[in-house]
Amino acid sequence: MGAISAIARTTLGEAIRRKVLLIIMLIGILFLSVIPAFSVLSAKSELTTMISAMFFVLRYTSALIAIVLTVYMLPNEIERRTIYTILSKPVQRWQFLLGKYLGAIFALGLMIGMMSFLMITMFYLFQHPEASKMFELARQALLYFVEMSLLTAVAMFFSTFVSPLVNFFISIGLWLVGTLLNPLYESISKNNEMAPVLKSIFSFVFSLLPNFANYDTKNPIINPGQAIQNETIYYLKITGYGFLYIGILLILGILIFDRREV
């Protein structure tokens, strides 16, 4: 446990100093700061535009940070040979990988946390909303964090056997596809002209790929008043789903990394 937390802490320390991540985050923060100024242009949809634009920026910036942070993590350790000094100590590979993952998650949490804090502050300053609204924003930000933790696990898994550039595109692709799965499935399940075989195939793929669409629950925040049933249970379920999937990816990653020549 000591080794895992030491590796995690070091990873965190390094990640929050990486210039490229800071630049991505700063761009996100810049966008978040100017959104309220643009939203006032449209009196009627001010709230809609503001919330949806802020969440858009938060989600895409977080995803970019998660991927850029993770794809270079293992390759950098190998290239700079730090991994040798660590693995020659009594540290198992699974401990190393887990420590790296946790460190990435902490770094990501910190960055998403900062952006969310700014987002909620801006929202408060420009809209003077009720406390419950602020809570809803914070909750959606938290769900994005779970989503990005899953995305980090995806990138981590691929980083055990593909190059950073390939991993970058695979992870982004999987994320985009993952954000489409639910709506796509919805459209297809309602399409009566599609062959049942194709539907089954899609259904299978649908249940195999990581599903990121689950975590986007901003619509009721943008369009308030919708009665959502068993809301809390839903959030618990998608968090549980995230943990399950992260577990799968990390175990597979460890199995591959364990046999990998570094």
Partner: protein
């Protein structure tokens, strides 16, 4: 004395698209005694680092077996009593020397601050403990590397090119530290191609080329039976060429009538002296010499691959 390292037919084969199977390490049989400084020599690409990585359990052998401090390679328990300093290591740049030691210490579960300070003292970095790594010179980086490799009080140290790229003063500092390790009873396994350094500090060496051990043994034994240097004046270039043609194992040089022959011990010195005299040359000196490690090394690695097999 027990063997600190022992390998039997240790082999690492990589599959290459162009060249088929490549034996990077080929049936390696290595024996390192406890308490000695062992030099593991070889040109670049000979398989030194691959061997070390296999011994450390970072990569897996494709054949043979190996034991480190009596345990099979890859055994996690061994990692508690060995350490490794890679070639030109990189440490997390945002950390200070002290933080580096804390980090690596925590991998062993060591939290004793006084130990960290003592180690900084030992590698002469106590005054720079709050500098971050990116403010360190190469020598300082190597010294902090040595400090981290001493954290667990290791019985066996693997040092990969420990003096590579360092200035002469840093060389001396590192050399002294390594000698100190031996005095403390540790086994030190040095991989290097800085032959003069190795010659100065190692008890035994092995020379590896194309993945195979070519020479292995005590330094004194390997270098015993040196060479003779014969210097004569008043000779012609034709004569020098003739000597070189006759003595293939010797190194012959000629400049302004002076001939210098660097001949192996088994060449008959008298025969050379006789021919100098018969050519009306005057003998200047005949000096018997112990072989240098460099000579042994060059002699070993200059053999083409086919011959080496």
């Amino acid at each position: 004395m027990a063997a600190a390292i022992e390998t039997r037919n240790l082999t690492k084969t990589y599959k290459s698209k162009l060249r088929g199977n490549v034996n990077v390490v080929d049936n390696l049989n290595l024996e390192v005694e406890e308490g000695e400084i062992f030099g593991f020599l070889g040109p670049n690409g000979a398989g030194k680092t691959t061997t070390i990585k296999m011994l450390l359990g970072i990569i897996y052998p494709t054949g043979g077996e190996g034991y480190v401090l009596g345990k099979e390679i890859g055994d996690m328990d061994v990692h508690k009593i060995i350490s490794y300093l890679p070639e030109r290591p990189y440490y997390y740049e945002h950390m200070t020397g002290l933080e580096i030691l804390r980090f690596y210490g925590s991998l062993f579960g060591i939290k004793d601050e006084s130990k960290f300070h003592a180690l900084l003292d030992k590698v002469n970095l106590a005054a720079d403990k709050s500098k971050t790594i990116n403010q360190f010179s190469k020598g300082m980086q190597q010294r902090i590397g040595l400090a981290q490799s001493l954290l667990n009080d290791p019985k066996l140290l693997f040092l990969d090119e420990p003096t590579g790229g360092l200035d002469p003063i840093a060389h001396i500092e590192i050399r002294d530290l390594i000698l100190q390790f031996r005095d403390e009873g540790r086994t030190v396994f040095i991989s290097s191609h800085e032959l003069s350094e190795v010659e100065r500090i190692c008890d035994r060496v092995a020379i590896i080329n194309f993945g195979k051990i070519e020479r292995q043994g005590k330094l004194d034994d390997l270098l015993r039976g040196g060479r003779n240097e014969i210097v004569a004046d008043g000779l012609t270039r034709e004569f020098a060429d003739q000597v070189q043609a006759d003595l293939k194992d010797s190194i012959v040089s000629f400049n302004a009538g002076r001939l210098i022959v660097d001949a192996p011990e088994d060449n008959n010195v008298n025969t050379i002296i006789d021919s100098v005299r018969s050519a009306k040359g005057s003998l200047v000196s005949v000096t018997p010499r112990r072989r240098r490690l460099e000579d042994l090394f060059i002699e070993t690695v200059n053999k083409p691959k086919e011959e080496s097999k």
